[in-house]
Each structure stands twice: as C-alpha cells, then as structure tokens.
Symmetry: C2
Subunit: 393 residues, 2 copies
C-alpha cells in the first residue's frame, strides 16, 4: 500500500458552520487556520508551508471580492508564498485539495495549506439564490429561471419516475442527517427531525421541501498536507490520501442523456477506487462524507459511487444501510444538510471530518468505531464537477 500513498493530512481546522454574524470570509479562514495550527504544534507555518490552495465559489458576489489566494496568504502570514484560488462551484475546495495533493506528489511542494471558505448569510436570500445560480448554465438554465432546487427537483422526479423512489425515502435522508448533525458541535443544525416534519415542511420545488434542502451557511475549513515521508515530522497520527479522482459532466441538464445519474461522480470515484485499490467500496470503506446538497443528491450518489445498484438508493437509506451501525455509514457529520454548506468550504470540511473520524476524534454517537478507510465526495453545481478522495489512517 505504501507506494500508493499520494499525500498525508497532518492537521485540519474548521469553524462552526451557520450564521456567523460579524465575520468576513477572511476572518473565518484565519479562525479555521488557528485550530489547524493548535492541533499541530510541530509545524511552523512560515518555515514549513510552501504553498496555499484556496477554494471559494463566489466571493465576488457575496463580498465583491475575488483574488482569494493572496488574501488568504496574507491573513495566515504566508506572503510571498504561492497562493492559488480554485473555483468549481460547491466543489471548489475539494478541487483545491486535489490540486494540493497533486502538487505534493509532483515534488514541487512539501507542505500545502488547503483552505475553503464562503460567507453567504449576510445577503438577502434572493441574491443568494441568484449567486448560487452562477454555477449553472447561463444561456439555457439561469435565463429561464431555473435555480438549484429546481435543477435537483428535475433529477428527483426523473428518479422517482424511473425507479419508484418516494418522497418518504428522500425525507429519510434528511432525518439521518439531522440525527448525526445533532451530535456534531460544529453543525449548523443540532436538532433531530422526524419524517413527518420533513414531509410537512413547505414545498420549495416539488418533490423537494424545505427540509430536503441544505441551508445557506457561513464557514471555513482547512487542512495541512505533506508528502507521506514527511508526515511523521508533524504528527504521530497522519491520515493518508490513497486515491484521488475528478470528473466533469455537462453543465446543462438539457444536454444529459440521463437525469438519474451524474457522470462526474462515476468518473471521479472509479479513478479514485483504481488508485486506492478499492474493488468493493461498501466492504472496503468504513465511512463516507458525501455531497447531500439536496436529499435526492445523496440517493443518486449512493448509486453513482457504486454502493448499490442503479435505482436502489432509496431503499438503501430506508433499510438503514448508511446509518452508523449500517453497512457503510454516510455523513456522520450531519452532511451538508445538517452540518451546513458554506459552498466553498464544503470540500475541505469533508476532509476535516474524515481526519477526525480516522483518528477516532469524533464525538460519541457519530464516531465510526475503528474506522480505517474513508471517502469524500464533493460535487459542484448540478454535477458538472465531482471530486472524490480515498483516505486511510
């Protein structure tokens, strides 16, 4: 296995997700960075970190601010080191993480800071919806009034039509997310919900109701990665990256042959599995953090990640197979649905969660016992981008 290791995560930090009033995005990032430093006293940032990788989706819209690479380098004290901003919609920091792994593997970077941030809640919700729509196709989606709940609703109705997936099964994804989010002190929502509550919440874009949709959130997360052979210099318990895959799909749903699958997830996961030597993900992976921006997204991801057959995703959640005591625990952090979804931070926040889990540091009731292998799945927009990583302790 040793020669398959791409990189090692030696520390990570994350703000609480939620409505964080009075902070700007750069301040949130500095807070997340502080936690990562506190957790890794052996690392001297100025001496050791040699490049910065930042994921941010739409700071231009929310704070009239682009050029996030050097802003982050400045706020963590790393000028004049190289600092790059990545934008792949809600997969921005998952993609930043992948490129940091690539840089470490190339030998051009020894220690990289990967950071993700989004500050969203200070703007009116109409603006937020419009800004998020930047990640969909302008001529044929945005201009016709399609927003993200609508896009995922189209996928949901297609899945219901073809496979008999039910509104109740969608609701079960939300119930599971809130159940574990309630145990995560960094989650935006820390209250369990019932199926009845989800089913009776107001319709946003049928069949998706309020509780089928992730919230609007502020937050930041970061991770420090290095070459595997340097990892023990910084921590006795690094987490290794053993697979990395990224894929694309048509940005416009109108271009896709099938609305019940996302090609980028299939491509990214198969690349990552091949690299990590994973043949049967349900058997070989101990937990998954996947991109449940809407409940239907989790069900489709089960199928596209190969955790079950096509059309079986609804049953998978219904049968409890993705609970803590199921075949393969999914989103023990609460997921985007309950933990929150500051879009540019989500990819690295997933890395933060698996870093805790694989070191046995997550809270009781959501810690997967003796977890050795984990997977993160981060999607941009309606699926035009997906990035998947496999980790081992």
């Amino acid at each position: 296995m040793r020669d398959r290791v791409l990189a090692a995560v030696v520390s990570a930090g994350m703000t609480k997700f939620g409505k964080l009033e009075g902070y700007s995005a750069r301040e949130l990032l500095a807070l997340a960075f502080r936690e990562a430093l506190d957790r890794c006293p052996e690392l001297d940032p100025k001496r050791d970190i040699d490049a910065v990788f930042v994921g941010n989706m739409a700071g231009e819209a929310w704070e009239h601010q682009g050029h996030w690479g050097p802003i982050v380098a400045d706020w963590v004290g790393l000028v004049p080191k190289p600092a790059t901003r990545f934008e792949n919609a809600c997969a921005s920091s998952g993609v930043a993480f992948r490129h940091a792994v690539t840089a470490v593997k190339s030998g051009l970077t020894d220690v990289a800071l990967v950071a993700g941030v989004e500050k969203m809640t200070h703007r009116p919700i109409q603006e937020t919806t419009e800004f998020l729509a930047l990640a969909s196709d302008h001529p044929f989606e945005q201009l016709h009034g399609l927003t993200f709940p609508g896009l995922y609703a189209l996928m949901a109705t297609a899945h219901m039509h073809r496979y008999g997936t039910t509104e109740e099964q969608l609701a079960m994804v939300a119930v599971k997310a809130h159940k574990y989010g309630a145990l995560n002190p960094k989650a935006q929502f820390q209250k369990p919900v019932t199926i009845e509550k989800v089913m009776s919440s107001r319709v946003i874009a049928w069949p998706l109701k309020l509780y089928d949709c992730c919230p609007v959130s502020d937050g930041a997360a970061c991770a420090l990665i290095t070459r595997p052979e340097l990892a023990k210099k910084f921590t006795d318990t690094p987490v290794y990256v053993v697979g990395s895959g990224q894929g694309s799909d048509y940005i416009g749903l109108y271009e896709r042959e099938d609305l019940t699958t996302i090609r980028s997830t299939v491509a990214a996961s198969r690349t990552a599995y091949r690299m990590a030597g994973v043949e049967n993900p349900v058997k070989e992976i101990d937990l998954i953090e996947l991109h449940d921006c809407f409940t239907i997204a989790e069900i489709i991801a089960y199928e596209d990640l190969g955790l079950c057959g096509k059309g079986e995703g609804g049953r998978m959640v219904e049968e409890g197979r993705t609970e803590l005591d199921g075949d393969i625990p999914v989103n023990m952090s609460g997921g985007l649905k309950a933990k929150g979804h500051p879009v540019g931070a989500t990819g690295v926040a997933q890395v933060y969660e698996v870093f805790l889990q694989l070191r046995g540091e997550a809270e009781r009731g959501r810690q997967v016992p003796d977890a050795e292998t984990a997977l993160t799945h981060n999607v941009g927009g309606s699926g035009p981008t997906c990035v998947v990583h496999v980790f081992r302790r």
Copy 2:
C-alpha cells in the same frame, strides 16, 4: 538540462484579441482550441487529453457565469474528464498553466489542455472598471474608490519620486509595445504611436495617460502540454518548460513597505531561475513576455525580474535595451498594451507567443532570431499574484 525539464508544450492556439462582437467566452475558447488542434494533427483530443485547466477572472461579472472548468470541457468535447477553473485575477491562466505543469510532473496527468478566456467589451466601461476592481482589496481599496489605474498610478509616482523615472520613459514603453503590436496580426492595436501622441493623450490617473493603460479586450488562448518524454509523439518541435515560480504579495498597497517593487515577481522569478539554472537573465534568456498592464508595470518588472538594478528600469527602455535588437527583447507580441488584455487569457497568450518565438514562427520584424530561451511573467491585480515560467526549445 534534460532532467530539469518539467513539461513540454506541444501546441497552442489563440484568437485575435480585441472587440470580438457576437461571441461568448465559451465560443472564443473553442476557436482558440481549434487552432491548437490544427497545429497538432497527431493529437486526438478525446484519446490523449486527460485534464482541463481553465483560467478566467470574472465570468461571473461579465456573463453571469461561473464554473468554467466543465463549460470548457463540454465545448471542446472532453466530458467527463477533470476540468478545473483557476482565478488569480489577471494571472488566472498563468496560474492555470503552472498547475497543469505540476499535474504533468506529478504523473497524474499525461496531456493537459490549459485554456484562458475573458469576454469583457460588451459591458459598459464603468462596469468593467468595477469588475476588474474585484481583484483589489474590498474593504480598504475598492470601498475608497481606488481602481486599477489609480493603484498603478500610486506605484508610478512612488517610482518617479524615488528614482527620477519620467513620464517620457513611461511613454516609451507604450511606443515600443505599439511598434511590435503593429506587426502582430493577432494584436488588438496594429498601429505605431509616437511619444507625443502618448504624452498628449488624456490623463486617466496621473501620471498615467490613456496610452499608458492596456485596453479592455475579448480573447482566448490555449496550450497543450505533456510530459517531456511524450512530446515527440505529438510534434517534432516541442517547447520545454524548464522553470516555474509563483509568488504572492499583500493585496492592499497600504500593507506594503515599498510601492516601487512587487514581491511576488521577485519570489516567482527567483524560484523559476533556480529551477531553470538561470544566473544572469539578460544573458541567458532570449526574449521575455511580461505583464505590462500599465507602462509603469513594465519598468518595475524589469527591475524585479533582475534585468537591471533597482531604479534603472526607466533608463532600460530609454536606451532601447528591450527592443528587438537590444540586450533582451521584451514584448515582441505588443504586450498587454498593444496586443490587448482579456484578463483571464493573458497568461496562456504569453505562452502562445513564446511557443511561436521559440519555433521561429513569429512574423518578420518581431521574431527574435534563433531564440532558444524565453520567459513569461504574468501578474494578478496590483501584484498580489505573479507567476513566471522559463521555456527552452
């Protein structure tokens, strides 16, 4: 030298720069890609290209469109391959190029498409100025009314004050740019100008006049890169990347100790020189494409790149040392000033130019005879980002 080679450029393409009415950004990119394919008939894109790297600064603002990675993958027929968008202001595609070189060096990518694009001219100039300002600091620059001509004017007055640099020397940078731009069929401006014309043009932000500023432009450029050992499969005359450096500086001018230098350029160039084994750039490099968004930027870049001593940049242009027949020809393409500056395209457009030059394919009067080594220098904003590459044929 062989073992120092990071990657090889096997083809490149570029639209004309200028006011390209009736095209959207994605269409411009497809046109640039077409030229790159036509120049490299041995390459089958679907079979050979395995990742897409896109530089775009502010499609969100100009076309209400983000998520450029998968859009480009779609328009060049490469879905479901990985596709990433990079944003580092006007250095977006230079940074994309660097990360593609990194990916090739890591072994995770065999052949990469690097593309850059910006469509700017269809919006009113007030909006364009505001959108460009996204690359400067929001709280302490944008909110106080500073725009890019103002930021560079501050650097110019500091340089004039400390070193006696003159308005005439600034004008000479513009005259040189137009002289060579007039010979470049892809340049936005193809007419020589006189010092008198530059000096008498209207003041934008003193001491910068209209002809001290690059224009607003539409355009796209791309390059195809691969591992050195695969290059000859695709062309008999590849151009090799032998040095790559990136640096950062404080985004706010108010944070910098010295306005007459840009730290990111110093850091990026020294890294690239070290990697390429360059000790004396004037002697060892045959031509430079540098980031002359304003005339003062070229003079400061001479100094920061180590082509002359601190404060000697004005004399360097005055003495003709950066002309075609000078010590080290600079911006034989016309530079941003005359070739045009579609911000997200500029970094790769510089690569396009050195690709032509090192293969001896540039037009008469601007082709550097027997050029063997070249350098590109791409800056984001007022200097918070700089990326430098060294190439050899």
